[in-house]
Each structure stands twice: as C-alpha cells, then as structure tokens.
C-alpha cells in the first residue's frame, strides 16, 4: 500500500520546476555580496560580527534567530510574482483582498461575557454604541463545559468569567433588542460539542424572531483542539467522536446557514496554553487539512467547505515575528489549497483570520503596561492583515474587564484604524528585506511541524497519542523557567520592577444574584415545557449519535423543544463514551 504523501512532499512535487524571475539583478547581488563582506569586516565591530545572530526572547516566542541586518542577500532569489504577488491575487502573501482595509476595515470585535444574559446584553449594547462593529460572546464555565446552571457541578461558577446560557430563552435575553440580521455575532462556542448544542439555540432564536437563516452572519469556534487539548475538564468524549462533531457542525452550517463561519481554527488558545507561534499555526493548519480530507470523504466539494474556513491567531510581543508568520501562513494556506486540494475558488485559498492579542503576555504587575503591550500586538495584527480583531484589556490578569478597560481596548483599535494611517496602504511592510526573509523562515518552520503531525498519522492521532499535550507541558515549563531566570524580560515584573507602590486599578465587580436567577429560570423552563417533546428530541439525538449520521439537525430539534444544554451533553457522553485525557508530562 502506498504510504500517504505528506503535504510538504505534495507541495514540493507540484511546485518543482516553476520558473522564477529574480527581482534583484544578479549582477547587483554579486556586487552587494562583496561589498557586504567588506562592510562586515571593516565597519562592523568585532563584537557584532561574533554576535551577528540574536534571538529575541519573548513570551510565546518561536526563538527564531535574527541577523543584525537584512539585505537582499538574505533573499537573493526573491521573485515578486512568485513569492508575494499582488494582494487579492495568488499567492496572497500581501493580503486576501486587493484593497484590504480600504475596502473593508477590520471588524472591531471585542469579547463580552459575564453574569446573566441581560448583564452581557447591556455590555454588548454599550460596545456597539461606542463603535464596535462586531459582537463576540464568551460563555461562563458551566456553559462552556456543558452543564446547566442548576447542576451541582456548576455551583459557585454561574455567570463568572463569561455569560450563563442554558437554553434558547437565555440566548433570547442575551440578544434582546439586537437585530440578528443586522449584526455579525461571533459565539465563542469553543468546542465541537458545545457548538452542536449552543449554536442551534441561536438558530432557533432566529426562527422564533422570523429571521431566515440565510440572513444571519457570524462565526462559531468549533475546534477539537479546544475540546480535547486546551481545555481542562471533568469529562471528555473521544477525539474521533469530537472530530466527527466538528465536521457535522461544519456540514450542517454550510448547508443551512450560508453566511456563517462554521469553524475558527485555533490558534489562539493553544498558543496561550503553551506553544510557540510556529506550533500554533502548524496545528491549526493540520486540523484544517484533516477536516477538508474528511469533508471530501463525505462527498463534498473542497471549495464548498474551504470558502468559509477561518483561523484564529494570537500575536504576542515579538513584533516582526507576528507580522511575518501571518503573511507566511497566508501564503502556505494558498499553496495547500491550490496544490494539495486542487481548490478552484479563490475564496478557498484565502487564509481569513480573527486575531486576539495575547493574554498571557500581559502582566499582573503594573497593569497599565498592558495597554502598551496590547497596542503593539494589535498593530502587528493589522500590519499582518487580519480581518477581525480583539484587543485584550489591561486588567486581564485580575478579572473580566471593567467597562473602562473594555472601552480602552476598543479605542486602541479605533486609534489604529483612524489615526495612524496604516490602513491606507496594503501590506505596508511588503518588500522589507527583513520581513520577507522572516516570512520565508516562518513558512518553512510551520511546514516542518505540519509534517511532524502528519508523520504521526494526522492531527487526531497526534491528539490521541498525547503528543501535543506533552509538547505543551514542556514548552510552558521551559517558558516559566526563562521568565524566572530573566531570560525573558517582562517590564515591571522581572525587569525594572517599580520600587514605589503604584495606584491600584479598578477591578471588575460581578453583578449579584446571578446564580440564583439562572437556577430559577432553568427550573421554571423545565416545569413549563412539553416534557414529551423534550424526551422525544433527546432520544432521537441519542439514536442519531449511535447511527453515525450528522447529529446537528437533531440538536436543532432539541433546541426547539427547549432542551437545556446539560441534557444534550449527557446524551453525547452516553453515546460516545468517555475518554481519559493524556498526561501533560
């Protein structure tokens, strides 16, 4: 049996023999080479010659060494059309659209979520009123982990860290006075499991409000990485079942909600958990590759799915690494879609992404420093060409953001968009000797790690084997050691720590009585709904799970019958069984 070719092998084959037309005149390059050597030996200090390569040490960095200076010699073979192309044209390195932000500004999509649905509803309205252009909802831990507010396991945690949702009624309150067909809503349903449960609630809400599903726009996360690798939880279903749900969600949403982004590959949370920027992208792309292979196996056209795929990245503090790798993965994604999957639609070849500035790069000490950090990270995201942005607030290490902190995050975006002028020029750093060399380097490294994943039998296999869990355990511990030794500097924490006490910041106070309120509501719902309908819907879902068909039409029916989230999670657990998560050590 022929061994499956890696993506790298396929790309190498298909791209071999493509004609290259170097932009730099070879004569000029030769001349530069001898002049550069002379310069290095006469003008440059011996110390700098010896330490020509320096490796920036930052939180979540990829430890890529940098030259002291970049010149055409770092990329003598540079071919504008082959390596960059113009934006909106293959290979899309410079951007997925010709006009980028002149045509469509990046969506300012700040996360909101705390307390009861009406509490978050207020904050959503506040943010929209202040100029946010997208909604981005984060759920509380019981909702994320799929337990009802009145489940004993949810005690003390309802409405903390995110908004509490149990049923369609909760979603109705959450989106009170908000016209679903006039906004774009990102529902951060991290997992395939909770996406299959929660997104149908949003769909049923639209139904009840008389809004057809082809009029709503937004996204869900729906990522196995979140459910089986990045999450710490009490109960897990096996990776293969989780991956199936991921694909079921994609299939159903693609078929029935045409303007909805059905997956946002991680990315962000994985990297925050403890991997480099390279691993972050390799994992997300490997996940996407495996998803597309499965969708093709299910009989779908690759373009049909790929046109709406999206990614979710986390820029940390190595400014140029962040810009370079976003460009790198955009070019790499194009190559994979065109040459591995034979995609025909340009949309399939676009690496569309949402970016959230890194949370773990922020500090508890001197929290106002975080305003600066997040601003630089946001700028890197924009210079890299992100479609949508969330800026972490300066009080992240303390609690959910206060209104003031959330507003400042939004203002950071607005200042970039309206005052800096950077959005007027597409891919402003294109052509930089440094950025192009680093983009090439990042692309190679990302592809290296994709190959590593493929050699294990694919992404789901890598999860099952615990490869990624252990990688995270190692990386995060090493990074901690580097922080403690001062190898990685964090201003105000281990470098230039203020000796005078600084004024304390305002820390968010949660609304009172949320848990009781939510418990009361869910109990009332259970008492008032049609129990026969509920049972019927849950049983049908259980059967569907066992039969191996797409389960989402059944979870939609459950939402219609006013089933609660915990009730569906119970069905999944019974049908798929539980999985013991691998060790991080």
């Amino acid at each position: 049996m022929a061994e499956k070719k890696t993506t790298r092998e396929i790309l190498q084959e298909k791209l071999a023999g493509r004609e290259r037309t170097p932009l730099y005149n070879p004569k000029a390059v030769e001349k530069l080479r001898s002049e550069f050597d002379q310069w290095k030996n006469t003008v440059v200090r011996e110390q700098d010659r010896k330490n020509w390569y320096a490796t920036p040490r930052t939180i979540l960095g990829s430890e890529v060494p940098r030259d002291m200076l970049y010149t055409p010699l770092n990329n003598p073979d540079f071919d504008y059309m082959e390596d960059l192309g113009d934006p909106g044209a293959e290979p899309y390195t410079r951007g997925i659209h010709a006009n980028m932000y002149r045509g469509r500004e990046f969506t300012m999509r700040q996360l909101t979520g705390f307390g009861a649905p009406e509490d978050t509803n207020e904050r959503i309205k506040f943010m929209l009123g202040q100029g946010a252009t997208g909604i981005n909802i984060i759920f509380d831990l019981p909702t994320i982990q799929m337990y009802d507010s009145d489940d004993p396991i949810s005690k003390g945690q309802v409405g903390w860290c995110g908004v509490s949702v149990d049923s369609v009624d909760s979603v109705d309150l959450l989106f009170k006075d908000i016209e679903l067909d006039k906004v774009t809503s990102s529902l951060v349903t991290h997992y395939p499991s909770n996406t299959a449960i929660l997104f149908p609630m949003y769909l049923v809400l639209a139904e009840r409000r008389g809004i057809p599903w082809d009029k709503i726009t937004g996204s869900v996360q729906n990522d196995i990485t979140m459910e089986d690798v990045v999450r710490s939880g009490s109960e897990y279903i096996p990776p293969r079942a989780c991956f199936k749900l991921q694909c079921d969600n994609i299939e159903f949403i693609r078929q029935n909600v045409p303007r909805w982004n059905f997956v946002t590959y991680n990315g962000y949370n994985l990297r925050e958990f403890g991997t480099s920027g390279v691993t972050e992208m390799a994992v997300a792309v490997a996940n996407a590759i495996e998803t597309l292979e499965e969708m093709v196996r299910r009989g779908h056209d690759v373009d049909w799915v790929a046109e709406r795929l999206a990614f979710f990245w986390s820029p940390a503090m190595d400014f140029f690494e962040e810009i370079a790798r976003i460009r790198a993965v955009r070019r790499l994604w194009y190559k994979i879609m065109k040459y591995k999957f034979d995609a025909k639609s340009p949309r399939s070849m676009w690496m569309r992404c949402h970016i959230q500035t890194s949370g773990i790069s922020l500090s508890y000490d001197e929290p106002l420093n975080n305003v600066v950090r997040a601003a630089y990270e946001a700028l890197a995201a924009v210079l890299g060409g992100s479609q949508s942005l969330h800026v972490d607030s300066y009080d992240e290490a303390y609690s959910v953001p206060t209104e003031q902190a959330a507003l400042l995050s939004l203002r950071t975006q607005q200042i970039i968009q309206n005052e800096t002028g950077v959005i007027e020029v597409v891919d402003p750093l294109g052509g930089s000797f440094y950025v192009e060399a680093l983009t090439n380097e990042m692309e190679e490294r990302i592809l290296d790690e994709i190959t590593e994943i493929e050699e294990q039998g694919g992404y789901v296999a890598a999860i099952e084997k615990g490869w990624l869990h252990r990688k995270i355990g190692t990386y995060s511990y090493r990074e901690q050691a580097a922080l403690e030794s001062g190898d990685i500097k964090l201003v105000g924490y281990n470098y230039q720590k203020s000796s005078t006490p600084l004024p304390e910041i305002d820390v968010f106070r949660y609304p009172e009585g949320v848990e009781e309120k939510q418990i009361g509501r869910v109990k009332k719902l259970r008492a008032e709904r049609d129990t026969q309908k509920v049972e019927g819907a849950l049983n049908a879902l259980g059967d569907a799970c066992k039969k191996g068909v797409n389960i989402v039409p059944y979870t939609v029916d459950c939402a219609r019958a006013n089933c609660t989230e915990g009730e569906l999670w119970k069905v999944f657990k019974e049908a798929f069984g539980l999985w013991k998560v691998p060790s991080y050590w």
């Binding site: 337990y147 004993p152 710490s232 511990y477 403690e484």
Partner: protein
C-alpha cells in the same frame, strides 16, 4: 533518616478550563523534589476526599474562573470539619482581584498566589507553611 517527600495535591477548581498554571506549578514542585498528585478538575468535596485518601501535606487549588471565594470557602469549611487545617497546608493560585486575597486567607488558605509567582516563592512558602503547621 531520609526526609519524607512533601506530598502535594494539585487540583483545578470546579469547572475551570485554564490549566497552564497548574501544570507548570506541578512541574515546578516535582523539580523541587516534591511528590505531586495532579487530579485535574474537582469539586470541593472531591478535593478534600482525595486529600484525605492520599494523606497529602499540601492542597494546591488553581482557579482562574472567578469561583475562588465561593468554592474556596467550601473547601476550607470541609477541611475544618475534618480537622485537616491542623496539619495540611491549603494554597490558592490563579487569577483573583487583589481585594480577595485577605478574605481567602481569612477563610483558611495559608497562601495565595497570582500570575507571576515563581518556583522559589511557592516552594519556600510551602516549606514555611508546613513548618508553621508542625510547630
């Protein structure tokens, strides 16, 4: 006589999904020569039951989800009812507003750690807290 290794129970509080800190601290403590039993997510009753079962010296609780006061109190109340406070050290780590540190200590946590706590700080706090309990 060889010194008995300090035995630490590390738990994620309730449904909190964020385990990077707990995993990192577990590695730190192992490197410092302690025995670490990492149980992942657990509710207060489970944490106390395991602490008793495993006869640990230290109970380390990690919470970034905001439930540190509510569920934290359940832990310390249960500990008191089982008279564990006499010999077991209880630690709370994670993300908490500064104003919650005093209440946490008052309810029975011997030490509270936030983002940025180092291996040296945690290890020396454990040793000090154990000495206080013993003496």
């Amino acid at each position: 006589m060889a010194e008995k290794r300090v035995k630490v129970l590390m738990a994620k509080l309730g449904l909190d999904v964020h385990s990077r800190g707990a995993i990192t601290v577990s590695s730190m403590l192992r490197d410092a020569g302690m025995e670490v039993i990492y149980i992942g997510n657990a509710v207060p009753q489970e944490i106390i039951n395991t602490a008793i079962q495993e006869d640990v010296d230290v109970v380390g609780v990690s919470s970034l989800g905001g439930a540190h006061l509510t569920l934290g109190k359940d832990i310390t109340d249960l500990a008191k009812s089982q008279k564990l406070q006499d010999h077991m050290v209880f630690l709370m780590g994670g993300v908490h507003p500064p104003r919650d540190e005093a209440p946490l200590k008052e309810m029975g946590f011997d030490d509270v750690f936030g983002p940025g706590a180092t291996q040296a700080q945690i290890v020396s706090s454990i040793k000090r807290d154990l000495a206080v309990k013993a003496g």
